[in-house]
Subunit: 223 residues, 2 copies
């Protein structure tokens, strides 16, 4: 590794998008990978996948931490055992019940704290705006506004950018970029559930399948 | 309680400033009090005090949650056992070693998640800008920028303000406001340490003492 490269804290959920955005980041930054557990149903699987992806991308460091508050809040099908994860269609317009309130605000704040501590120049997130579930905290205007808050709320000698390399890409473009960057798709996990194989019915599986279909590439996870 | 009052999530550290800001909030909002532990040295004491303050202010709900990541990061005298808490003078200009990176960014994000879940209209924080330790995430310009990010990053039907009623007050003005509002000062705890009595030497004790001195009021904690 080159010691003169700037540092970036990369949020790594273990999913397809954060795998590609971390692969993108590793081209130009020393990667400090952060995985956050928040009581999501596929937590153990996502954590293992995030760790594998970080290792394969030669991250300088991989950290895992927990935010139990998001599960304690309840109300999301991702974290609440009483709510089933919807299957069969990608939502259009409506914010789906899988939304976890202000999740990216919390995840990014944790990543910014680490970035401030190690003087990293970027926090990288795999947020996708259009071709996604429509969560408000995945939109570029949120990320731009948060970057401004980070500038105001960290030490004056810090310069931390919020970088979302995929925010305006379609799922097909994300897969193509990942193939180009040799992103370790086989180590990633997108399914909201924790079966031995992806369910292929939840919104996250459907969005992933759309990406590989549009890119004309076989998903190595399904081989 | 009046069911038509709007809700506010109030961050309650157990200290003097958040006690006064929550007392202020309870005049106009139904208070949902949130205390966040992050491995600070006085954690157990602060938690008990926050709970007492919430009860005395008749908060609708009191929640405690943990963000272990801030302790895991280290580097702050508030959370790192190897670093001593400085004593004897209020810092001027320099950001002191008690700074915890982006702490208010993280605490506010958690509060916003709760506010989004229960449709609260405000997140109230006892941040103080000038008459304080100079932490960048206590400045009004940070809070204003974050409010904009919150507007962008939460559901479109939500309207969550970040309210910092003390941000431009001196410590003396804060104590006077607290007296006016009958804020439960006797239940609060400002000391960075966890002795049976406040140490009266750390920056937080000195700022509290300055407030009571300027207001010409006896601190009930020292009676």
């Amino acid at each position: 590794m080159n010691d003169t490269r700037p540092k970036a804290v990369c949020l790594l959920s273990g999913g397809m998008d954060s795998t590609v955005s971390a692969a993108w980041a590793s081209q130009q930054y020393d990667v400090y990978a952060l995985h956050v557990g928040y009581g999501q149903k596929a937590a153990a699987r996502e954590r293992r996948c995030a760790e594998d992806v970080a290792r394969l991308l030669k991250a300088r460091e991989f950290r895992v931490t927990e935010v139990p508050f998001l599960q304690e809040l309840g109300g999301s099908a991702l974290t609440d055992a009483r709510l089933a994860i919807p299957t069969g269609a990608v939502s259009s317009g409506e914010i789906p019940i899988t939304q976890v309130p202000f999740r990216n605000g919390i995840l990014l704040s944790l990543a910014v704290a680490w970035a401030e501590a190690i003087d990293a120049h970027a926090v990288v997130i795999g947020a996708v705006e259009e071709d996604s579930s429509g969560y408000p905290d995945c939109r570029e205007q949120f990320l731009v506004a948060l970057e401004r808050a980070v500038e105001m709320g960290t030490k004056p000698d810090r310069d931390i950018r919020i970088v979302a390399p995929l925010v305006h890409k379609t799922k097909g473009e994300i897969v193509r970029l990942g193939v180009e960057l040799r992103a370790p798709f086989a180590a990633s996990w997108s399914c909201y559930d924790e079966g031995p194989l992806p369910c292929n019915e939840c919104e996250s599986c459907l969005l992933r399948a759309k990406g590989f279909r549009e890119a004309g590439v076989q998903d190595p996870l399904l081989k």
